[in-house]
């Protein structure tokens, strides 16, 4: 199963980006194989509007089933929910810590968006 984490950089030691739509990249982690790759999101980082929507679309296209991030707005939430992607919110950590916390069941699943659009 693929997990996406909003990331400031491309390694497990990188910090998690608290923004979803405008995160610079996503780290895609394969839960079973414990492998990972980074996908670039700078195009959405600088898009005029709909960054969350397009980021969500990209994750759905990459067959992601779980998203770990800091905050999700209403439109991104709607896309992710429609596509059946589970969302787990976390405080600021490294990517590795976020994955460990997820595996340990310490993160709670979000049933709604926790911020409005353009919250930063």
């Amino acid at each position: 199963m693929k997990i996406a984490i909003s990331a400031n950089d491309s390694s497990l030691e990188s910090t998690l980006d608290m923004r979803f739509g405008r995160a610079p990249s996503f780290l895609i982690y394969e839960l079973e194989q414990q492998t990972y790759k980074s996908i670039d999101n700078t195009q959405n980082l600088s898009s005029a509007q709909g960054a969350g929507i397009q980021s969500a679309q990209n994750l759905v296209n990459a067959d992601v089933k779980v998203l770990i991030t800091g905050n999700v707005g209403p439109k991104a939430f709607q896309v992710l929910k429609t596509a059946g992607v589970d969302i787990y919110l976390t405080p600021q950590t490294t990517i590795q810590e976020a994955i460990d916390n997820f595996k340990a069941g310490k993160l709670t699943k979000s049933e709604t968006n926790n911020v409005e659009g353009h919250w930063v």
Partner: protein, 282 residues
């Protein structure tokens, strides 16, 4: 003749100039229309209290999906520059508030699963005060897409006499939509670093649009000399300067036209119009 009153920076005095200029023209017996394109905050009416005699709701096109016809090919989401559609494994989701109404998605859909519907973006209102026609747009609260409404407001206001167009601030699509097609643009600024910075952006925009323009410095006795220096260097005529005047501010704050209480400023508006006519001719 269509005269657009624009600025980069907000709060420099576009509405002060627009309302008083329109009043001056119509009080001289000239057929005049004041067109308020600042549709997020149309304030000119406050200074006239016109009789409203007509209105038109303005819509823009948005797509709607017929799920049974949709094959989930995703071509609609691909062509949308504004992320207003996503395609998720055969499901098209539409975010109407992000749609710019280009209809590209409808054109590329191979199975005609998208059809055109509309959403209301605001209203054009028509009023009259003595001999002055007043047209304004009011954007629906929560709506972000003002250019189609501004276009409609301008259509309604496009009369034979002199048309004064009060533009929204900034240098993005709403401002461009408001100034486009005018015969002359008056850029209102103030002699401060903020005023200068945004004036430069506005000048670059108007030059790109290839429209004749000049500068008005409002509250010209405050701040510094850098706007003057910039205009001199760029060979931009300054055709109106209004000093910092407490009585003007007072009149504005009470919703009154300052030309009525301070008629000695009329001569400056007269000179302004002569200057504009000269600049439009050459």
């Amino acid at each position: 003749m269509r005269i657009a009153i624009a600025s980069g920076k907000g709060g420099t005095g576009k509405t002060t100039i627009s309302s008083n200029l329109a009043y001056y023209l119509s009080s001289q017996g000239q057929a005049t229309t004041l067109v308020d394109c600042d549709v997020e905050e149309p304030n000119n009416h406050i200074f006239f209290n016109p009789a409203w005699y007509g209105s038109e709701m303005v819509q823009m096109p948005v797509p709607e999906v017929e799920a049974e016809k949709c094959t989930g090919c995703g071509k609609c989401a691909e062509i949308c520059e504004f992320n207003a559609l996503v395609c998720l494994k055969g499901n098209v989701l539409i975010f109407p508030e992000l749609c710019h109404g280009c209809k590209g998605c409808i054109m590329v859909c191979p199975t005609s699963a998208l059809k055109e519907t509309t959403r209301e973006i605001g209203e054009v209102q028509l009023g009259i005060k003595d001999r002055l026609n007043i047209v304004q747009g009011v954007l629906r609260i929560g709506e972000a897409m003002s250019p189609p409404l501004i276009r409609k407001v301008k259509e309604h206001g496009d009369n034979n006499g002199t048309v004064i167009i009060d533009c929204p601030p900034g240098t993005s699509c709403p401002m461009i939509q408001a100034v486009r097609g005018s015969d002359f643009v008056l850029l209102v600024t103030e002699p401060t670093p903020f005023g200068l910075n945004d004036l430069k952006l506005a000048v670059e925009t108007i030059r790109e649009l290839n429209l004749p323009f000049a500068v008005c410095i409002n509250r010209s006795t405050i701040g510094d000399n850098k706007v003057h220096d910039y205009c001199k260097q760029e060979k931009i005529p300054i055709i109106l300067e209004i000093p910092e005047d407490r009585e003007i501010a007072q009149a504005y704050s009470q919703g009154r036209l300052f030309l009525k209480t301070l008629p000695h400023y009329q001569i400056q508006f007269d000179t302004l119009l002569k200057n504009i006519k000269e600049l439009v001719v050459c």
